[in-house]
Subunit: 384 residues, 2 copies
Amino acid sequence: MKSSSIKVSDIGEKELIERIIKKTRSCFIDAENSHNAGLNSYSTAIGDDAALTDVIIDENSYLVSSSDMLIQSSHFPDGMSYYQMGFKSVAVNISDLIAMGAEPVGFLLNIAVPKDLLLDDFDEIICGVVGACDYYKMPLIGGDTNEAGEIIISGTAMGKVEKDMALMKYGFEAGDLVCISGELGLAALGFELLSSEESYEMASKLNQSLTDLAVFKALKPTPDYDNGRILADFKKDHIISATDITDGLASELYEILNADRKYQISNHANYEMSNNGRNLENDGDCNLENSYSKGIRIHEDKLPVEDEFKEISNALNLDYLDLFFHVGEDFELLFTIPKSLEDTLKEKMDFHAIGEIVEENTVEIVLSNGETREISSRGYEHLA
Amino acid sequence: MKSSSIKVSDIGEKELIERIIKKTRSCFIDAENSHNAGLNSYSTAIGDDAALTDVIIDENSYLVSSSDMLIQSSHFPDGMSYYQMGFKSVAVNISDLIAMGAEPVGFLLNIAVPKDLLLDDFDEIICGVVGACDYYKMPLIGGDTNEAGEIIISGTAMGKVEKDMALMKYGFEAGDLVCISGELGLAALGFELLSSEESYEMASKLNQSLTDLAVFKALKPTPDYDNGRILADFKKDHIISATDITDGLASELYEILNADRKYQISNHANYEMSNNGRNLENDGDCNLENSYSKGIRIHEDKLPVEDEFKEISNALNLDYLDLFFHVGEDFELLFTIPKSLEDTLKEKMDFHAIGEIVEENTVEIVLSNGETREISSRGYEHLA
C-alpha cells in the first residue's frame, strides 16, 4: 500500500527538481571515499544552467555540462520540420553553455524514434543535429538510438569555461542593471500562431514579416554564442550574473533572486568553487535568510517591444506582457551588470537594460501609466 | 512527396548509428575554425563504448562520456521496481565508462514520467539513481525533468582516463586470449522468466537459487567497476582491448573485429588519439582491407556455464548457447589479453578465457562434440 497518493503533476517540474537536488545532497559522495582523487576538490553548481565540475580540467577551467530532453508532443509544435527538431535539440543545450559563458567541447545525442518513421525523416533530424553542431562548432561525439512511441531527443552538451569567467545565476547588487540580450515574446507569439490557423491568418494580415519572424523564432531557436563569451570576458573584472530565458522571463527573475539568496546564505568562501557546494542550504543561518533583501524592478517603457507586436497581441486577445514575461523559448540571456559597465558593453553587444536590482524583496513592473504591479512567478512548467 | 518509403525499422539500430557517424564525419568541424583552441588536438573514438575527448583535460587524460536512454516499454521488464529502473539508468552508462577503463566524474539525469505517476514512485526512481551514483562514487551533477507517456530515463556519465590506460575495442593479435569477466546468459534467462509465469514456476522447481539469481541479474545489473580499472592498469604495458557486453556476446565479438579492422586500415599514427579520427574509413586503402585476417574461436568447453543453467534452459525449450551468445544485458566485459598475461591477471580478477584470436576471418565455436560452427552476429537490436 502506498502511504501517499500524490501524483507528480500535483507538484510540478520545479518542485520535482528540488526534490532531486535534496536527495542528491543527502547522499552526496564523500570526497575521501571517491574513486577519483580529483574529487577532493569536487564541486558543482547543481541548480544553475549547467553543471560545473572542476574535476579533470586543468587548474584554470571548469568542465561545464548540460543535458536536456525534448519530447515531440511537448516540445515540437505543429509545423516544425524534422531538421528543426534536430537543430532545437542542440540549441536548448548550447543555450545552457552560453549562459555559463562556456565554450563548447562536444555533444552526445540520444534519439528515440517510432518504428515506422521514414528513414528520410530520420536523416533530416540528424542533419538538423549535425547542422546545429556545425553552426556552434561543437563536434557530435557519441550517443545512442532507440525505439519509442514518439520522437524523443536527449542531448548533452559539454563545454569548458575559465574559472574566473563562469557566469552564475547569482551575484548582483542593488543598483545593478537587469538586462536581456534580445527581444522576448516572439517565440511565444509564434507558438500561438502555429497552434491556430485562424490566429495565423489574422496576424499575417496585420503584419506578414513580424508573423514570419515569430513563427521562425518558435521553430528554430538559435541562441547567440558570442553573447555568452562577451559577458564571460567582462566577468573577469565585474560582478555579472546570467541565465538563459527558457521558461519565461518572470520565472527566471525569481530564479536569479533565489540563487542569489542561497549564495548569500551559504558561506561565500565555501561556495565559491574552492569547496563543496553542499552547504548551499545551511538552514541554520536563519538571520542571513531574513536579512536578505534584494528585488527586481522592471520598467514597461524600457521593454524592447514593437508596436506591431502589441497590435497583433491585441488582435488575438492576448496580453502582450503575458507573452513577454510568462512563456519563454526565446533562448535570450537574462543578465545583470553594474551600471558603470553599460556603455562599454553597448560597444560589444546588443542588449536592453529593462530594469534594476532594488533593495526591497519584490519582483515588480512599473507600467507606462505609472502604476506598479507585482510580476507573478508563473512560467512554463512541465508536469504541472 | 518522399523520394523513399524506407522506414527506420527496415534498417535497424546499428545501421542507423552508422548513418549518424557518416553524417558526422562528412561535416566534421574544422579544427582551425573551432571556437575552442583545444580542438586543434581534438579527437574522438566515435563508435567505441564511450566518447573519448582530449580537449579540456590535462595532457595525460581523456574526458570519457557516455549517454544511454532507457525507455520503460523496451528496457524495463515486468517486475522491475522503480528503484531498479533508476539504478539501471546509471548502470548502463557506468558500464561504458568501465569498458574504457575510466574513473567516473559525474552523472547527468534526464527523466520523463507520465503526469499521473505517484510521487512516491518518482522518489523511488530517484533513490535508485542516487543509490547507484553512490555505489559507483559518481556524483549526480545535473539534469532535467519532463512529461512523457511512459518513463524515459536518459543518463550521461562522464569520466576520465589516463591516455595510456584507455581501453579501446581494437588492438589484439593472433594468439591473444578472448576473455569474459563473468558468467553470461543469466540476465537473458532472467528476462525469459520475468516474461512468463509458467517458465518461472518451472525453473523455480528445478533450482530456486539459480532462478532467483537470473531474475536478479535482469532486474539489477551491477557492472563491476574494479574490472575496468584493473585491465586499464595492465594496458600500460600490454596490448589489451575491451568492451562491455550489452547486446549479446556474439554481436560484441563482431564489433571488436570490426573496430580492429578499421583501426588497422586507418593510419595508426593518425588514429591513435594524436590526431583526428575522421580517416577511420579511408576506403582508398583497399589492399589493407583485403589483407586483414583475424578472427575469433570460442570453445564450448571453456564457457562458464553451470549444468543447472543448461538444465533449466532445456526444460524451457531454450538453447543455452542462444542465451549465452545472443541476448546480452549481463554488462560483463569482453576483453582480449596476451596469453602471457593470463596467470598474472588471474591474481587480480576473476575472468574466463573462453577462446582466442585466430588468423582466419572467422567467428566460430568449437562445440564439445568436436564440431565447429559459425557464430551468427545476431544480437539484440532496437528498431529492427
